[in-house]
């Protein structure tokens, strides 16, 4: 084996990949949320639809989005294999659960939370990305030629309660995943410092609450104020 495969298959190497892909996904969440906030503009969807034209045609965004799919898959597959391996190395667990208060529930359930997030992503991609790819989208013209009315797809999805609730469940799982994952990624990279770690932990917890909350506002706002 070359030193590179040795490195990337070592326990610390695999965790490095988890950490880097996780941090990339965190960056992606910020960009994704910033774009989505245009759904909240009261303009019948014009700003959002114009923004999606840019997102679906820019070659740079194309490269980033394929990278994003690859990283999500890598993160998920690696995460599940790490989890399976760890269950083997743990073997029998003690009969009584430890009452240790220093340990968060999220940190011990990252794989379960990840699987929930993955299930949510499947629903989410099927609902928007697949429908767009299969051309199940109407066209709309704001005076600059016809473009896809993705706003209408969003509207139709978020008028169904079960979808709104599935989103809330998925985002709650994401929130817990980040509650542990954000700061954990820095620790994995070896960035633990008496000055910076408390700041990283604070930012991580704020991020874990505010970002999923930001995403959750959109379907709720549609269902409660626009549709009904």
């Amino acid at each position: 084996m070359s030193w590179i495969t040795n490195f990337l298959t070592s326990s610390i190497g695999r965790k490095l990949l988890m950490s880097l892909t996780g941090l990339f996904l965190i960056l992606f969440l910020i960009v994704h949320l910033a774009g989505n906030f245009q759904l909240l503009k009261n303009d019948g969807g014009q700003a959002f639809n114009e923004y999606t034209v840019f997102m679906t045609t820019s070659p740079l965004i194309k490269v980033i989005s394929y990278g994003n799919y690859l990283f999500i898959l890598l993160h998920a597959v690696l995460g599940i294999t790490i989890w399976l391996k760890n269950r083997k190395t743990k073997g029998k667990t003690s009969a009584v659960a430890s009452k240790n208060e220093d340990v968060t529930w999220a940190s011990k359930n990252m794989a379960l939370l990840g699987i929930l997030i993955f299930a949510f992503l499947m629903l989410h991609m099927g609902d928007f990305w697949l429908k767009m790819k299969l051309n199940q989208t109407n066209m709309i013209d704001y005076g600059t030629g016809p473009i896809k009315d993705l706003y209408e797809n969003v509207y139709n999805s978020y008028s169904q309660w079960w979808i709104v609730i599935a989103y809330l469940v998925g985002l709650t799982a994401l929130s817990y995943h980040l509650w542990h994952g954000f700061a954990s990624a820095f620790q994995t990279l070896g960035l633990n410092h008496r000055k910076y770690t408390p700041i990283i932990q604070f930012v991580g917890k704020a991020f874990a609450i505010l970002v999923p909350l930001g995403f959750a506002i959109i379907p709720l706002y549609f269902k409660l104020f626009i549709v009904d």
Partner: protein
């Protein structure tokens, strides 16, 4: 005080093992091990097999008195080994569950005794420094910044008990290995073999079949020496540095 003990009994590595329930009469001044001694005397009088458990120093420095007590490695008292845990932390009538370390890399030999030779092999892989024998060197010949000396000393307090592995839901030995890497690597005396040490110790740790760290922190929380997670971060970055910048393959 009257106590009910549920103790893990296992004849040998191949046997399945199960809990047996015993009643013992202890007093609050006893250490947990002294209470276990009372149980064993009782069992011997009843012509039954006493419970096997390891112990040596009984003063918190050898790292052998390993038991999972009510689900926690070394019991409920923070920063305390089983031998230093006193019965005053339990109440009359309590039921206490006692198990061996739980991790595949620590197979049970008998009852509460596990085989921790995997730790020895990790140490053999790099937990040493090379020094010239002969005249003892002046203790202060090499100046070391106080802060660094303290960090190295904190890491050096690890007694190699293995509580971290048992406490970890992943059965990971990162806290132990990182304590050893840090205690030697932080000091100029350990600088010479530093890159080689971190590479070899991590490789051996993986080979022994320990799990991967998820930064849960149960290790540090249940470690009798309260070894800090800072050491794991240090080992990770030293590992990256050794892989990416040294000539070692």
């Amino acid at each position: 005080m009257k106590l009910t003990l549920k103790v893990w009994r296992q004849k040998n590595n191949k046997a399945a093992g199960q809990f047996e329930t015993y009643n013992v009469e202890a007093n609050e001044h006893m250490s947990f091990l002294e209470m276990m001694d009372v149980l064993n005397e009782q069992l011997i009088e009843e012509k039954k097999e006493p419970v096997s458990f390891e112990h040596d120093c009984r003063e918190g420095i050898c790292g052998t008195c390993n038991m999972v007590i009510n689900g926690q490695a070394h019991g409920p008292q923070k920063g305390t080994t089983t031998c230093q845990l006193h019965m005053r932390h339990f109440k009359e009538g309590d039921t206490i569950t006692v198990e061996p370390w739980r991790a595949t890399a620590f197979p049970v030999i008998k009852d509460l005794v596990v085989d921790r030779s995997s730790f020895d092999r990790i140490i053999q892989a790099g937990g040493f420094i090379s020094v010239n024998t002969g005249q003892a060197v002046d203790g202060n010949a090499i100046p070391i910044e106080k802060d660094i000396a303290l960090k190295a000393f904190d890491a050096a307090t690890c007694i190699g008990c293995g509580a971290c592995v048992s406490a970890c839901p992943n059965g990971s030995a990162m806290l132990f290995t990182s304590a050893k890497v840090s205690h030697l690597g932080l000091l100029p005396q350990g600088e010479v073999e530093h890159s080689r040490r971190v590479l070899n110790m991590v490789a051996q740790m993986d080979k022994e079949g320990f799990g991967m760290c998820s930064n849960v922190g149960a290790c540090s929380a249940e470690c009798p020496k309260e070894i800090s997670l800072e050491n794991i971060a240090r080992m990770n970055r030293e590992y990256f540095k050794a892989v990416l910048t040294s000539d070692l393959k």
